[in-house]
Symmetry: C2
Subunit: 176 residues, 2 copies
């Protein structure tokens, strides 16, 4: 894993990929699948996400105020769905689905070795947690895997249908 400048984090999340979110509480790590996230600020990178109160990860995120957002590419799609279908209440999903937790640098939640990017996050604002389960996170450290070249991310359309990244186009733009 190689450090990614925090100013570039938005380029990973803005396109809307399905991601994994890891937490760690009382020495036990968990991982869930997440599509409801967006960028909120470029730098320091702030990210909003909605984690259902029905998820095991919700309580861990609220209690520890730390998580990792790990971004999988196409070869992990089947595992990403398996993670989404299972509950951390009674299962070690890392072991069950062959994902490798790796210690992070600034948070207790683990990185996911198989993902091409990992973002260490701290909860920054909980004002909308009670109403919408909406957390505002700050990305405090970002990693990418230089061995995964031009990773194709996946985008959930509901009920297990995903669009895989296709053609990349570049248009003359003044937008960051």
């Amino acid at each position: 894993m190689r450090t990614l400048p925090l100013a570039k984090v938005y380029q990973l999340l803005e396109p809307g990929p399905v991601v994994l979110l890891t937490t760690a509480r009382k020495g036990r790590a968990n991982v869930m699948t997440l599509s409801w996230h967006m960028m909120v600020e470029f730098e320091p990178p702030l990210v909003a996400c909605v984690v259902s109160g029905a998820n095991h990860s919700f309580a861990a995120l609220r209690a520890t105020r730390e998580c990792v957002i790990a971004i999988p590419a196409r070869p992990l799609a089947e595992k990403v769905v398996q993670v989404g279908n299972a509950s951390g209440d009674d299962l070690d999903k890392f072991a069950a689905f062959g994902l490798t937790p790796v210690p992070a640098e600034q948070v207790a939640a683990p990185l996911v070795a198989e993902c091409f990017a990992n973002l260490e996050c701290r909860v920054r604002d909980t004002r909308l947690v009670n109403t919408y389960n909406l957390f505002i996170l700050e990305v405090v450290k970002a990693w990418t895997d230089p061995k995964q070249k031009q990773p194709k991310t996946i985008h959930h359309h509901g009920y297990g249908r995903f669009a895989v990244d296709g053609e990349m186009i570049t248009l003359k733009s003044r937008m960051r």
Copy 2:
């Protein structure tokens, strides 16, 4: 345009496409480009979005509490970037870039005829507007264009680079 059940709205936004956001204030419509949005609730569909205070649309959205989220497919990519590069302060972007405003049913902001889906929205929560420019919207009416079959959306990676939807895959999933 054909009505889309509100329960299906999340399938359009969850994949993270670049969208257009229209507003109307004092008889004048405007349109901007937006990538910072996410689903917050399935039904009624709630959507969070961040609209920079530097955008002409920010003041209109805050004052009128109404907007339309219009979703463009690949053929509109060049216009979407032109919209993103221009300011509504001094330009009628609909006329300038050949987009057609169409009256909505429940809000004053217009639909965009060329987009394959249009979501009429009302502002539901402004608690995070002052801190992050983050609005919570409720989708009150949704439209799709049945003539646009299997539209390919675009996903912004920064500086005018976009991933176009590629292969669609379906995996066995219990996730909605």
